[in-house]
């Protein structure tokens, strides 16, 4: 098979053309955050860091500090990820390996939930949260987000569990260990790649989440970067794309860092989980 660049120049050209809009957007996302274009133009005129002023001074008297919002977002994303992982590794193991009544039913339910239109339930979810007294709190959004991510998480983890040889489990049982111990000591280490992929993935999902915090936690205490950024953009007195982009860069940095560090694992999740 010919995989040299020379032999594939048409293909590369086509790909480059198709990718151009995205590349331009990424490029200017970066450039505009640290420069100022001429009025009505796009070519950067001056390099400057004033767009990043939001890091050390409030951009508007009504907005909470970016650091507080970032902290919230971090708490939101990481707690969500931990919850999703904790619930998924147990539930998926039960569905994959344990024999108990109604298992079939739960499996069918899982597949159904996997494709369920969750966001349409948001009104009713509000009621539930409200009964729990968790409306307008970070904890409430975390619970909801974690619950909505669960079917995906269980699905992925079940895929990984399914690929662990049964014999390991049998050997453990035969060696005298309880099923719990077998799971904890023998099986869990085998699904570590899946677990870390899920952890990263649900962290990213939490980091990006917009609608849930918007609707379920509108108060200042639970602002996250997504709602913060959207509010800054929506505020029609400040058409400052440079500022938007700087905030956007700030918001995206962890995502990009995670992508660069864990590329392989992220791709893993699609490979492992969605084979159907």
């Amino acid at each position: 098979m010919n995989t040299s660049i020379k032999g594939n120049w048409i293909l590369i050209l086509a790909l480059t053309l198709f990718s151009a809009p995205l590349v331009i957007m990424y490029g200017f996302q970066l450039i505009d955050s640290v420069s100022r274009p001429a009025p009505g133009g796009i070519i950067p005129q001056e390099w400057e860091l004033t767009n990043w002023r939001f890091l050390w001074e409030p951009i508007d008297s009504a907005r909470p500090s970016i650091w507080r919002v970032t902290f919230n977002t971090f708490v939101f994303a990481s707690t969500t990820a931990l919850l999703v992982c904790a619930f998924s590794i147990t539930a998926a193991y039960a569905l994959s390996r344990l024999n108990f009544p109604a298992r079939r039913f739960f499996l069918a339910g899982l597949i159904m939930l996997h494709a369920f239109p969750t966001i349409t339930l948001i009104i009713a979810i509000f009621i539930v949260l409200q009964f729990l007294g968790l409306y307008d709190s970070l904890m409430g959004v975390i619970l909801v987000k974690a619950a909505l991510e669960l079917p995906f998480g269980i699905w992925i983890m079940k895929g990984f569990y399914d690929s662990v040889p049964w014999e390991i489990e049998m050997a453990g049982v035969q060696d005298g260990a309880s099923r719990f111990r077998v799971w904890w000591e023998l099986i869990l280490p085998q699904v570590k790649p899946g677990l870390s992929a899920l952890l990263i993935f649900s962290f990213l999902a939490g980091w990006s989440e917009f609608i849930l915090p918007l609707v379920l936690a509108p108060g200042a205490d639970a602002q996250v970067l997504a709602t913060y950024m959207n509010a800054v953009i929506a505020d029609d007195t400040r058409p400052d794309y440079g500022l938007f982009k700087a905030i956007g860069m700030f918001y995206a940095l962890p995502v990009i860092a995670i992508y660069l560090l864990f590329q392989k694992r992220l791709m893993n999740i699609y490979g492992g989980g969605t084979k159907g």
Binding site: P165, E167, I168, M170, A171, G172, V173, Q174, D175, G176, A177, S178, R181, E185, L186, P189, Q190
Partner: protein, 348 residues
Amino acid sequence: MQIKLQNFTKRFGDTTVIEDMSLSIASGEMIALLGPSGCGKSTTLFAISGIHRIDGGSLHFGDRDVTTLPPQDRPVGVVFQNYALYPHMSVAENIGFPLRVQKLNTAEIKRRVGEMAELVQIGNLLKRRPQQLSGGQQQRVALARALVRKPDVLLLDEPLANLDAKLRLEMRSEIRRLQRETGITAILVTHDQIEAMSMCDRIALMRDGQIEQISTPSEMYERPASHYVAGFLGNPPISFLKAEANGKLMLGAENSLPMPQGVDASGPITLGIRPEHFGPQHQGPTVTGRVSFIEPQGREDLIDVTLPDNQRLRAIVPAGHDFALGQDVNWQVDLSRTHLFNAEGNRL
């Protein structure tokens, strides 16, 4: 430890895999469960280990009824086909795991792991991880792990299937040595007749969830209880001929053989002749046919002879003969070693 499986029945959903099977194994004996895949031999093994529930019947280890005991509580060690070593643990940790579960102290675990490793001759590999070991070494670790907790019974599930031919020979005798040295009662599940015959005291040949015959390897080879057993054992396999018994055994119009002694039969029967009991070098009645296939094997050749009624007989002939394809031959059958089966397949 004597094992007694009585009226064992196993169902998966609606399908009954094993019905009403009984098997008893003497203490210190090594027995093979032999049969083609799907015959229920692994199911039996897993039932004995406790991984599968027993749907009917009972299982005793010695006097103890273990029918409903979970696998954790049964004094059983298992070696799996793919060894099932814990990939994230070192060899020592693998072997030590069953002891750790028993909450033995570290020093004791270390001592016994060391002992066990010496026994299976992997004392120098204790720090390695399973993926750094060869197939044979992994096999030894698996054996060590199965034996370290001093079980009463050792179960081996196709233990040699994943090894190359040379290692297989080596491990065959190695496993037998270990079994003899520890005096443990062992059950070997295999589909390989050579393994079964060479390693075990007795063979239980299974077919469709039933034990077809249980006896020593030589007994089973010499006196197969059924058409099925005869056909399963022996390599190259036995040749079967359809014959009509009416005082003589009629093989088509041209050939006939005298009735072997002590057999009384009439009507259609099946005659089984192993290749080593047919050929130009034997004493006995002859059969005519034409050489239809020659397969040199080095020390000897396999030669197929097609009889006039189109049935085939295979012969093992020492190398250095000058038979050629298409040649008509008239060869002897060692009549006393032939096997006769009735229409139901049972030995006559």
